[in-house]
């Protein structure tokens, strides 16, 4: 029984995150449509998309592709995001935590982009090869500021790497926390492959880039991975920066508010910016966001050692 309970929690929270992610996908598309004065898709749109790809369409494997790597990459990406979802929800609900689970989360969140590169390289298409090289550069861009930004809540939680420990502090209500949160939101934008940083996908220049050769069920896996990431990234940010969730009526309402606020910010950034070139993205992340994250870390260390709360 004691073994089955955490497994059940993981499965239930992964499935729940999947549904939340599909709902957020719809929210994202509907909001985009309303911002452009369009009517937008009906509420069941992501479900219809996934069912169509899973049940109706045939799965094509290009003759130049390496079948195994091509097909297994989306599965690994989806399962790693599912594990992150289970980990975060079990911290939020049961406060179960292990030493260094933040590092596990950072690693697991790195797997979907890596699997995108693997699948794209295995597909044997020149468009996908360009997309894979761009995705690689993009990982180099955003991973450094992302980790630096996550260091700030670690310092606020008295150098603890446990998410269950970090959830008891709210670094957002300090100067360093606000800077780190902004940096983390931009890094999450690139991790999600949303528009100013959808360089690897670039529909109008390299025709979908990394996913150009996927069809049918593997494409549905990629769709689901994206949807789950859209649900998991705000969840991670709320957990480490913004105090997680309290299971009271007001607490749950506040949690939903925070969640929708973060997703809305993501969508607004996506709708008000054109796609950047890879060199512009690199300059933005390394020359602007990384120094900002370093300053946030320094402020947090000063605040911690001198016991100044608002730093």
């Amino acid at each position: 029984m004691s073994v089955l309970a955490p497994i059940g929690t993981y499965i239930a929270s992964a499935a729940g995150t999947l549904l939340v992610g599909l709902a957020l996908r719809w929210y994202d598309r509907k909001l985009t449509a309303r911002l452009q004065w369009r009517k937008g898709p009906p509420w069941y749109q992501p479900i219809a998309d996934v069912l169509k790809l899973l049940l109706c369409k045939e799965t094509l494997i290009p003759s130049t592709a390496r079948g195994t790597g091509f097909l297994i990459a989306p599965v690994i990406a989806l399962s790693s995001v599912a594990v992150v979802a289970g980990l975060l929800w079990s911290v939020l609900i049961y406060r179960t935590t292990v030493v260094g689970d933040l590092i596990v989360v950072i690693y697991l969140l790195l797997i979907p982009p890596l699997m995108t590169i693997l699948g794209a390289s295995a597909s044997g298409s020149p468009h996908a090869a360009i997309g894979a090289s761009r995705e690689m550069k993009l990982i180099l861009c955003y991973e450094l500021p992302f980790v630096l930004a996550l260091l700030v809540p670690v310092i606020h939680a008295k150098w603890s790497l446990q998410i269950g420990e970090m959830i008891r502090y709210t670094p957002l209500y300090s100067v360093s926390g606000v800077i780190a949160m902004i940096v983390a939101i931009f890094a999450a934008q690139a991790k999600l492959g949303q528009v100013p940083f959808d360089i690897a996908e670039a529909e109008c220049e390299i025709m979908g880039g990394v996913i150009v050769e996927y069809s049918g069920a593997p494409l549905a896996m990629i769709y689901l991975t994206r949807a789950m990431l859209l649900a998991v990234m705000p969840l991670l940010l709320i957990t480490v920066f913004w105090g997680g969730i309290e299971f009271t009526f007001m607490g749950i309402l506040a949690f939903i508010g925070k969640y929708l606020l973060l997703v809305t910010i993501t969508t607004l950034i996506r709708n008000t910016n054109p796609r950047l070139r890879i060199d512009q993205a690199m300059r933005f992340y390394w020359m602007t966001l990384t120094p900002a994250a370093v300053i946030a870390v320094i402020l947090a260390i000063i605040g911690y050692s001198r016991a100044i709360g608002w730093l």
């Binding site: 598309r29 449509a33 452009q36 004065w37 369009r38 009517k39 937008g40 898709p41 009906p42 069941y44 749109q45 479900i47 219809a48 998309d49 069912l51 169509k52 049940l55 109706c56 369409k57 045939e58 799965t59 094509l60 529909e203 109008c204 390299i206 025709m207 979908g208 996913i211 150009v212 050769e213 996927y214 069809s215 049918g216 494409l219």
Partner: protein, 148 residues
């Protein structure tokens, strides 16, 4: 079975193929994405790759040069898929029908490799966006009965 047909019908992704059109039909296709017509109401979006597509929106008169490319794109598309022949040129080669550089025509080129292909014709030069939306809705009606 009904679920499959429902999902396919409600989520048609469009890939746009130009087989030598004068660009007028293409402008009208892009018009479908604007606030006035907004094809996303029906769950239709433009995608960048034929592998993702359910609908091939073909414009142009299918010249000799572009005919093998059109057939290759049709082979690359994941089945089941629908072909929309948009404009007079795509329907019956328009005023270029007896020209020296014409291929077999969009419908004949596709029927040559798949006799059971679903092809819908949208006549007009260029057809109105309303006509294309009507064709899309007819395609959805058609997909209710298609066996998957």
């Amino acid at each position: 079975m009904a679920l499959k047909n429902w999902a396919l019908r409600k989520s048609l992704w469009v890939y746009h193929v130009n087989t030598g059109a004068c660009n007028n039909c293409d402008i009208e296709v892009v018009e479908l994405l604007t606030p006035r017509y907004d094809i996303e109401r029906f769950g239709m979006i433009l995608v960048g790759s034929p592998r993702h597509a359910d609908v091939l929106a073909v414009t142009g008169s299918c010249t000799r040069q572009s005919q093998p490319r059109l057939q290759e794109i049709y082979r690359q598309t994941a089945k089941p898929c629908v072909v929309l022949a948009i404009g007079s040129c795509a329907g019956a080669q328009g005023i270029f029908a007896e020209s020296y550089h014409m291929g077999a025509g969009v419908d004949n080129a596709i029927r040559a490799i798949d006799p059971n292909a679903i092809i819908l014709y949208v006549p007009g030069c260029p057809p109105k966006p309303e006509a294309m939306i009507s064709a899309a809705v007819k395609a959805m009606e058609l997909l209710k009965e298609v066996k998957i």
